[in-house]
Amino acid sequence: MTLESIRANSRLQIVLGLLFGICFGFLLQKGGVTDYNVIEGQLLLTDFTVVKVMLSAVMVGMIGFHVLRHFGYVRSHAAEGTLGANVIGGLIFGVGFALLGYCPGTVAGAVGTGALDALVGGMLGMLIGAGLFAEVYPKLRDSVLQKGPFPAVTVPEFLRLPTWIVIIVLEIAMIGLLAGLGYLGF
């Protein structure tokens, strides 16, 4: 079975989506980030578990992705963004993030651990919010979502540096950040 045939098999992909979700939810819970106290604590800057989990994932994934890409096993999905879409959307998301105390993945994980606020408030709210966005999408698509396109798709393109140099610098910066958090007692 080739990679192409696995990716094109829609029934297999439904099963794989479920399996990836199960592993993801398991790891999120074991990492502690399906807990409201941990996520809200991160936003209140009293608990840095979310940063630790995210940076560790990015550090490992960044190297893995680019090695796999070098050998042709994966391709980039990075898309050009805009200030109107990514900055405004990101800030709206941030306000919701703090009010809810979960993000779209961890809210589902929290439901699995028995958090009823995540189910009745969070997941229901997410469905309503996604539906509202679908309503206003035609108006936003041709206006604000197009405003202020970023000058490049990737960071190496933006900085005009070789990809591997950017990866090395970012890896060192992330190690430094995690070491600094440890040093400060977080």
């Binding site: 993801f24 809200e40 969070g122």
Partner: protein, 175 residues
């Protein structure tokens, strides 16, 4: 090995590294970033089709993100099951309406907690679709791919989140 699975929690670095490996596997086997907010659009679209099929069929957004049971939709039930298996193995499953950090500032009322959580969920779903992804899709998987837009988006998630959380908790403390 099994003892490890029954631990209440792992080192966040280990769990994070596991997530990094998982994201790479998803790129290889499914040619997709693991994201969580698309599933909510698809599910909302499926609900819309049952309630008002004509209107849902006409909406542009559901032409682009087609409501159907596929890889992106299955991530969310998967995450629920995965987290459930994890707490089942460690024996830490418990039903909860009001998290302790919330209760310490806003009191034990489940109604107040659910109202604010619902408002937060609406903004979260709306903002995630506006930005085209979530903490996982942009924050982890976009960053892995060195996407400039994703890294800026992730910074905005936290900038908005930290500002709102500090206002919410410290503002409430001052009242």
């Amino acid at each position: 090995m099994f003892e490890y699975l029954t631990l209440t929690s792992w080192s966040p670095y280990l769990a994070g590294a596991g997530i990094g490996v998982l994201c790479c596997l998803a790129f290889v086997l499914s040619d997709r970033p693991i994201g969580c907010s698309t599933a909510f659009v698809k599910l909302r679209g499926l609900i819309g089709r049952t309630i008002n099929p004509e209107k849902t069929g006409r909406m542009d957004y559901y032409q682009e993100i087609v409501p159907k049971i596929d890889w992106a939709l299955m991530i969310i039930p998967g995450v629920m099951i995965g987290a459930f298996i994890s707490v089942l193995l460690s024996g830490s499953f418990h039903l909860l309406w009001v998290p302790s950090l919330w209760e310490s500032t806003f009191g034990p009322s489940p109604l107040l907690r659910v109202i604010v959580a619902l408002a937060g969920g609406i903004l979260l779903g709306f903002g995630a679709r506006w930005a085209g992804g979530c903490t996982s899709g942009h924050g982890i998987n976009g960053s892995i791919q060195l996407s400039l837009a994703s890294m800026v988006t992730a910074a905005c998630f936290f900038a908005g989140g930290i500002a709102t959380a500090l206002l919410l908790f410290h503002g409430a403390g001052a009242w």
